[in-house]
């Protein structure tokens, strides 16, 4: 390499690149402008549709999650209320009374009551907001 001057290097590279460029020009077969335009239009429409659907999907997922949370919270309260009670299957009235009595007599600071109650309240609030988003007209 030390034998070559800058001019010679320039000439070697220029010749090589020019030859390769002429070959590349004959190889180049890009799709027509109409096809590229049409694909771009289709893709832009698809992406715009996906973008428009995204907020709705998020709100739906949020509403479903809140519904699930609400159900779990209710189940938790019922389980907490009837814990220890016997025979509620045979006497539904007694069970209901037991539930009310247990709830009334229960210590509200107990985590068995406060956690499900808090979860239920939070779920109700979030579900209401989610419902507003889903049902609003714009």
């Amino acid at each position: 390499m030390t034998q070559f001057t800058d001019e010679q290097i320039e000439a070697i590279v220029a010749e090589a690149m020019t030859a390769e460029a002429s070959v590349a020009r004959t190889e180049a077969a890009p799709p027509s402008a109409a096809i590229v335009w049409w694909r771009a239009q289709m893709r832009a429409r698809r992406e715009a549709a996906q973008l428009a659907d995204k907020p709705i999907a998020i709100v739906h997922a949020l509403a479903i999650a809140c519904g699930g949370g609400l159900t779990l919270a209710l189940v938790g309260i019922v389980i907490a209320a009837v814990r220890g009670s016997v025979g509620w299957l045979t006497d539904i009235y007694a069970s209901t009374a037991s539930l009310v009595t247990t709830l009334a007599a229960s210590d509200l600071s107990s985590r068995w009551i406060t956690l499900p109650l808090t979860a239920m309240l939070v779920s109700v609030v979030i579900a209401s907001i989610a419902a507003v988003f889903v049902l609003r007209d714009e």
Binding site: I9, A16, A44
Partner: protein, 185 residues
Amino acid sequence: MADVTYLDVGRLNGDAALEADVALAMDEDAFRAFYDRTAGPLWAYLSRVSGNRQLADDLLQEAYYRLLKSHAAFENDAHRRNYLYRIATNLVHDAKRGARPVFDEGVEIAGIPAAEGSASPEQRTDVRRALGRLKPRERAMLWLAYAQGSSHSEIAAALGVKTGSIKLLLFRARRKLARLLEVRP
């Protein structure tokens, strides 16, 4: 008259928003004219810099799509073309970082089937092998300078480097290619 539900209203609003989003940066006639002037050289650039003709096909479509979605304000056609090459260069760079195995020290670029041309097949293979051993940025720089006759400022715009650095970088790339062409395997 049928009742319009909230879903219908949402769909109608969505369609209006959709039309606004779909609007591309150029009208079809302007795009066709620009594409016809630039697609061939851009494909050649992508195929030689990436070393992969299949990848060049994909990147060509992607480059024009990004240009159409960019909504950038261009001063003139040359500015738009430089921007397109900048997008293309970044796409090749991203492809290099991706999973597709290109730039394997000249394996891919040397593997491009040679078309008929003035140079002999041996010479073409040598050039491709040598190009394949350059870094993608060096390939891009030499291609823009010699195959497309781009100015230093155009090369700088396409590659995202300072115009003042181009002269030195080009000098180094030129020497490297000449050295590789001199040493036959």
